[in-house]
Structure formats: structure tokens, C-alpha cells
């Protein structure tokens, strides 16, 4: 049983890797993907809450482990 599961998982990983290679995008340095980077930054800027100070100062809790 475990053997079957392992090989099923490996082939899923291979499939994912193949899928990722199909995506026409180079890994790594964002700067190589200039236009998609610009649209990424546009998206991010438009969705962040406008009051950064308030956002940041709202996150205070006593420490954990």
C-alpha cells in the first residue's frame, strides 16, 4: 500500500513540474519579467490598505513560544 502511495505522489510531482515548465516564465530574478513585474506591482499597490501606519500598529500581541 505505502509503495503505491509513494509512486502516485512522485508522478504527481512530475506532473506539477511539467505543468510549471509549460508556464512560459523563467524562474528567479523578477526583473527578467519586466512587464509582468509591473503588472504585479500595480496589483499589489492597488489592493494594500491605504493607511499603512494603522495596519502595522494594529498587529500587536503578547509573545508566544
Amino acid at each position: 500500500m505505502p509503495q503505491e502511495q509513494r509512486s502516485a505522489q512522485s508522478s504527481d510531482l512530475t506532473q506539477q513540474e511539467t505543468d510549471q515548465q509549460d508556464v512560459t516564465r523563467q524562474e528567479g530574478d523578477f526583473a527578467e519579467q519586466a512587464s509582468s513585474l509591473d503588472s504585479l506591482l500595480d496589483d499589489i499597490e492597488s489592493t494594500l490598505e491605504t493607511n499603512a501606519e494603522e495596519y502595522v500598529s494594529s498587529f500587536v500581541q503578547k509573545g508566544g513560544e
Binding site: 506539477q16 504585479l40 500581541q61
Partner: protein, 489 residues
């Protein structure tokens, strides 16, 4: 005459739970994540602690406890004033633990969104709950992402301190989640690790109330004659799936090397890297993204994080050569793990850390901020810190999902697998038994409880079963009796 026990007695002869793994390299993996909570855009002040309690109401009410187990065998924990915590069900491979960790993000997110809905009435339609899978809040309070590894008992705590801790201190080169800080002593205001500033000793010291980097626990999570639980406290909470996987996969390989040596009652080659001062070293490494900040070893010599990680890589390569036949069983995809590890070290060594932005969290974050600064040289510190937190917000964060969707950050587990991990425990550990018990129990009005090693019916009938071997998903008679009783209710 009572048997005198020494550390080499594996107890395998006595039929102890897990005995079949006393002499191999099989391991149980777990990740426990504490989440930070915040609320923004609320019409009036709200206490995040209260919000966390509200989040957990649907779960707490059905299990009558702040400590509750789910159908996938994992554990949710919330205490008053605490950070909501998710602990993954036992897994035998890092990939399964990763899927369970991601399932935890989904579960937490759903609970938070439900609570957010209920906030709207009293606090306005714009109120938003944020759950941060990170390690520091805006006031410098820290909380953890702890890894658990089953460790063979022959390995003494001193071996962990001398042979593993140097690895843990320097692995942040690829496991660090990065942190923008207002601390004026940090050059550029950026560190590669979230947790480095908050760890004190390598191992627990009874004389201080410090936070150690690692400790071991002799708990009955497995038969304590054979194993103990290694609890790694020093890790960052990662968003990158690959970073989470690598954190566990490479640490596992280093543990294999240490266990292999201690089976013969010897120190491993890793002992050559024992640190003079782990607490000083971890901070020095965290503040430097070149991997070349000087680090002093116990023998007085000086080295650096890059050289140490290279040495660990070489030592692990030797282990892989010695166990070529068994490697697929020891770590599936070990070749990918070793390749990514080299890639990380090569990139940092050549100054090309940006190539790691597709899987190393600190590199992704820093690259993003640098790109934003190029667009807007007046980018404020508050904005930068907001981006740092948003990256870790699993409920309302927009940056990380956008990076994944755009192919900037690679994934390892697809959505279908994550959904499956929300519903199903790993089938090859005792989590399978716990998950099935919880699923059956939730169908009834029974009063029940469980923990890592027991499933218990409390009412209307009292019946219990024990599960001491974390590797064993097979029910025994006692367990079957509990399930049969549940099904009859």
C-alpha cells in the same frame, strides 16, 4: 534483576512500539505554527484576543476544549490571550507534512473568514481579520513555528547541540523568511531570518527563562525506549511551499547522518562545526545576506555560514553515497532536495541571491521591496513593514497569492491535494486512526476526547484505546471496540 538500560539498548527485542524502525532512517515529521492575529478597518476598537476566541467558537463548542483534534488528525489549539496554533498530523515524509501544513492554512483561513463575517454586525462591514503566518508582530514580540522530528534515543542532547545546532543556525540562508526591522543596528533594516533575534541558548538551560533553539522531549508520542521527540524552535514560518519542504527535508538528512554515527556510539563529522556561541552566530548570520559574516567555532577557528552549509552538504552527500539503495525510502525526491540546496548556496556565493526569489522567502520579499523602491524611491518604512506583514497574511493577504498565481513563486502541492489534506489524515501513520475516530465522533452526540496517543469515549460509554506507535495506522482490538461503540450511538 532489573535490566540496566543504556543508551544503546534499543528495546527492539522487547517488542516495543515502533521497533521495526529502530535501525532504519524512517522519521515522523510535524510542524506546529502559532499565528499572529490582527483586525483592521474596524469602526471601533476590538481586541484581537477576543477575535481569536470567536474564530474558534465553532470548533471549541463541539469539543468542549481549547485543544481540539480535526478529521485530518491535526490539532487546533487556542488559549486565552494566546496565538491560534495548528499542529500537523504525523507524517512520514516532508511532502505529506507540507500538505498538512497547507491544510492548516486553509482551516485557519476558513475559521477567520467566518469570524470576520460575524464581526461585521458590531464592527462595520469593512472590518478585516488578519492571520499572520510569521514570527514577529509590530512591537517586537515573537512567536514560533516549531518542527518536530522523531529521533532515535541513542543520540544524546549534546550531539544535538554540537552537531545539529550549527546546521540550524546557518540553514536560514534558504529557510529564512526575512524581516524588515526598525532596529537601527541592522544594516539596511533587513534580516534574512524572522526569529534570529529572539533565540537565546542552543538548548534549554535550567537557570534562565530563555528561549532555546531546540529541545528534546521524552514524551509518549512513541515508545520512549526507542525514540524521543526533537523539538526545533528556531525555525521561521515559511510561506513558500518549497522552503517549508526543504526545511524539513534537509534537516531530516542531517539527522540521518547524526543517527548513523551514534548507532556506533561515535560523533558524526558534523561535530567539526560546533559553535563557540550559537546565539551570537545566529544573529550574525541573520544580518548578512552574503553568507560570509564571521562565525566562531568552539575550537577557536573562524568560518562562515556559507562554508558551514557547504560542509554539511558534503557530509550529507557522503551519507547518500553510503545508502544509495535505500535513499528513495529515506527521502523521496532527495535528488531535488540536494540540487536545490546546492543551487541556494551557489546563488548566495555568487552574490546572485535574486535567483532564489522563486522559493526562498527572504529573497522573494527583499526582491519585491527593492522593485517597489525602484518605482517609488520615497517608499515609507510603514509601507515596507505593511508589505512584510501582508506577505504572511493567510486570510486577507494579497501579495503572496499574487506571487504564486503569477508564477513568481513555485508551488509543490496542488489545490486538490491541499483540499484532500484538509479532509484526510496521512494514511500511513497513526493519524489515520485519530482522524477516523474524530470523523465518527463528530457524527454523534457523544462526549469524546483524544490526544496524540489516545482516543477516548467519555459518554455515554467510557472506552479508550491507546496508539503508542506513530508509524502504525493499523487499528487494534481496543481501537475497533471504540469505533464500533461510536457507530452504534
Amino acid at each position: 534483576m532489573p535490566q540496566l538500560r543504556d543508551s544503546r539498548d534499543t528495546g527492539a527485542e522487547h517488542g516495543h512500539a515502533g521497533a521495526e524502525h529502530a535501525h532504519d532512517f524512517a522519521r515522523i515529521f510535524g510542524v506546529e505554527t502559532e499565528y499572529g492575529v490582527a483586525v483592521t478597518e474596524s469602526d471601533r476598537p476590538v481586541d484581537p484576543g477576543q477575535v481569536a476566541m470567536t474564530m474558534f467558537r465553532p470548533v471549541v463548542s463541539r469539543s468542549r476544549s481549547t485543544n481540539t483534534y480535526l478529521v485530518n488528525g491535526s490539532r487546533l489549539y487556542l488559549d486565552v490571550g494566546s496565538h491560534p496554533e495548528y499542529a500537523t498530523a504525523e507524517a512520514v515524509r516532508p511532502m505529506d507534512a507540507l500538505a498538512q501544513d497547507l491544510a492548516g492554512e486553509r482551516v485557519m483561513r476558513r475559521l477567520a473568514l467566518q469570524a470576520q463575517e460575524s464581526l461585521h454586525e458590531g464592527y462595520g462591514q469593512r472590518a478585516r481579520i488578519h492571520l499572520f503566518k510569521n514570527n514577529v508582530d509590530s512591537a517586537g514580540h515573537s512567536f514560533g513555528c516549531h518542527e518536530n522530528y522523531l529521533l532515535r534515543r541513542q543520540v544524546p542532547l549534546s550531539a544535538i547541540e554540537h552537531e545539529l545546532v550549527p546546521f540550524l543556525v546557518t540553514r536560514q540562508l534558504f529557510t529564512g523568511a526575512g524581516r524588515f526591522t526598525a532596529d537601527p543596528t541592522v544594516e539596511d533594516g533587513f534580516e534574512i531570518s524572522q526569529r534570529a533575534e529572539f533565540l537565546d541558548d542552543a538548548v534549554s538551560s535550567s537557570t534562565t527563562r530563555s528561549r532555546p533553539m531546540v529541545n528534546t522531549r521524552d514524551e509518549p508520542h512513541a515508545d520512549s525506549d526507542l525514540f524521543r521527540r526533537l523539538h526545533v524552535i528556531v525555525g521561521d514560518s515559511n510561506r513558500s511551499q518549497t522552503a517549508t519542504w526543504m526545511k524539513m527535508a534537509i534537516t531530516h538528512l542531517v539527522l540521518c547522518v547524526i543517527e548513523e554515527a551514534w548507532r556506533k556510539d561515535a560523533v558524526s563529522e558534523c561535530a567539526s562545526m560546533t559553535l563557540a556561541d550559537p546565539s551570537e552566530a545566529i544573529r550574525a548570520v541573520s544580518r548578512d545576506r552574503t553568507g560570509t559574516a564571521p562565525v566562531t567555532l568552539a575550537d577557536g577557528s573562524t568560518t562562515n555560514a556559507l562554508a558551514m552549509q557547504r560542509r554539511y552538504h558534503d557530509i550529507v552527500s557522503g551519507f547518500i553515497d553510503r545508502h544509495a539503495d535505500a535513499m528513495a525510502a529515506i527521502l523521496p525526491d532527495y535528488e531535488q532536495a540536494m540540487a536545490l540546496w546546492s543551487q541556494a548556496l551557489d546563488a548566495i556565493e555568487s552574490g546572485d541571491w535574486r535567483r532564489l526569489a522563486s522559493w526562498v522567502d527572504w529573497a522573494a520579499k527583499l526582491q519585491l521591496i527593492q522593485a517597489m523602491r525602484r518605482r517609488d524611491p520615497n517608499l515609507s518604512d510603514a509601507r515596507i513593514r505593511q508589505i512584510d506583514f501582508d506577505y504572511h497574511d493567510i486570510v486577507n493577504g494579497t501579495i503572496f497569492p499574487r506571487l504564486e498565481r503569477g508564477g513568481f513563486i513555485r508551488t509543490m502541492v496542488d489545490e486538490a491535494h491541499i483540499e484532500q489534506a484538509v479532509e484526510q489524515p496521512p494514511a500511513d501513520t497513526r493519524a489515520a486512526l485519530r482522524g477516523r475516530f474524530v470523523r465518527e465522533a463528530l457524527r454523534t452526540d457523544a462526549h469524546w476526547s483524544c490526544d496524540w496517543t489516545h482516543v477516548s469515549l467519555i459518554g455515554p460509554v467510557k472506552l479508550e484505546a491507546e496508539m503508542l506507535d506513530p508509524f502504525d495506522p493499523r487499528p487494534d482490538d481496543a481501537y475497533d471496540a471504540v469505533l464500533d461503540t461510536l457507530r452504534s450511538l
